[in-house]
Symmetry: C2
Subunit: 188 residues, 2 copies
DNA sequence: GTCTATATAGAGATAGAC
DNA sequence: GTCTATCTCTATATAGAC
């Protein structure tokens, strides 16, 4: 089969979402791609770590773009965040929560044990936080306040995905959506 | 050495906190306990999974007790949550964020792949959410509202721990503490 | 660029002596 | 209850033919 870095990255993101870093073997990645071992090390000479770091970066870009597109449709920042979180709840319910927070699992596992991965996760979160922050600023909230709220919203989203996955229902994401709406509204 | 189930559980919690489920080998647990392989399977015939399930339960109980004790010292619910989250920021900074959310890492990894672990994590979160809910109710917030806010707060705490670990600073936890204070205050 | 075979290490678990 | 030896499986990575 004609392979490419892109195919590896796409399949890796999916598996990371479900199983995290240690839980995702290069074997299962190879399997998902229909590739042989040699190809992986041809495209990613530094192996699994290199592949996962790139997967995190690609995933962050994709998510940031989706969020930005969604935010443009919403007048206020509280609406934007509310819509985003409800969309996540729906997406999760449609997929039995097999998809979720690809970065979160890696971040938890690697925060204190793998520098490269930690940095990749950190930068991914900064990118997503910035998208939220910009929407808050565009909505008239002063910069330093916007920064603090954006971090809180990012935290809440990640935690709510975790709870929704654990409960196997979108309820936590929907509850948290309401709370974030109120929080942003009250901060104006 | 004279061993016990308790020693295994205590050491396992510590390792899970840093490395998650797949990242924590039974070998490293044995090492930390100064135990031999046979002892583990003597105390926990079903092996790693049984041990980890118990570790999650014990950890949930300990955390719930700490929270309850802390909450008793605080007049209002918003104060209580604020104090808790700031205490977590401090604790993290004192430990280079090597400690954190033992349940979160396992929950992420096992949500879609291991039923027993998922249930243990789910119950752990329900227990912690209940502690927060009771404080909100005691503070005069009606039950259904209290439930929804408690879930949001739990989500935010878990997410903020994740961000703090990733950034290696307590800032996200402190930002989120302020936000949760505002959220609860505005919900009265 | 793709394939197979292999190297090396580590995983979780079991059996049975003491 | 503890220890050691061992089983089986799987992990990541490499080498070299094609």
């Amino acid at each position: 089969m004609r392979l490419s870095r892109e195919i590896f990255i796409t399949e890796t993101i999916k598996l990371l979402e479900e199983q995290g870093y240690h839980g995702t073997s290069t074997r299962s990645i190879l399997n998902a791609c229909g590739a042989q071992r040699g190809s992986l090390y041809h495209f990613f000479p530094d192996g699994k770590e290199e592949l996962v770091v790139e997967a995190i970066q690609v995933q962050a870009n994709v998510t940031a773009n989706v969020m930005q597109a969604m935010f443009q449709e919403c007048d206020t920042a509280e609406e934007a965040v509310f819509e985003l979180m409800n969309a996540m709840a729906e997406r999760g319910e449609a997929n039995n929560f097999c998809v979720g927070a690809p970065v979160a699992a890696i971040a938890q596992e690697s925060a204190t044990t793998n520098h490269q991965l930690r940095i990749a996760c950190r930068d991914a979160y900064r990118q997503l936080t910035d998208v939220i922050k910009e929407k808050l600023i565009a909505d008239g909230i002063p910069q330093s306040k916007a920064r603090s709220i954006a971090i809180s919203v990012t935290a809440t989203i990640e935690g709510a995905i975790l709870l929704s996955r654990t409960e196997q229902t979108g309820a936590p994401l929907r509850d948290a959506a309401v709370s974030m709406y109120k929080l942003i509204e009250a901060s104006k």
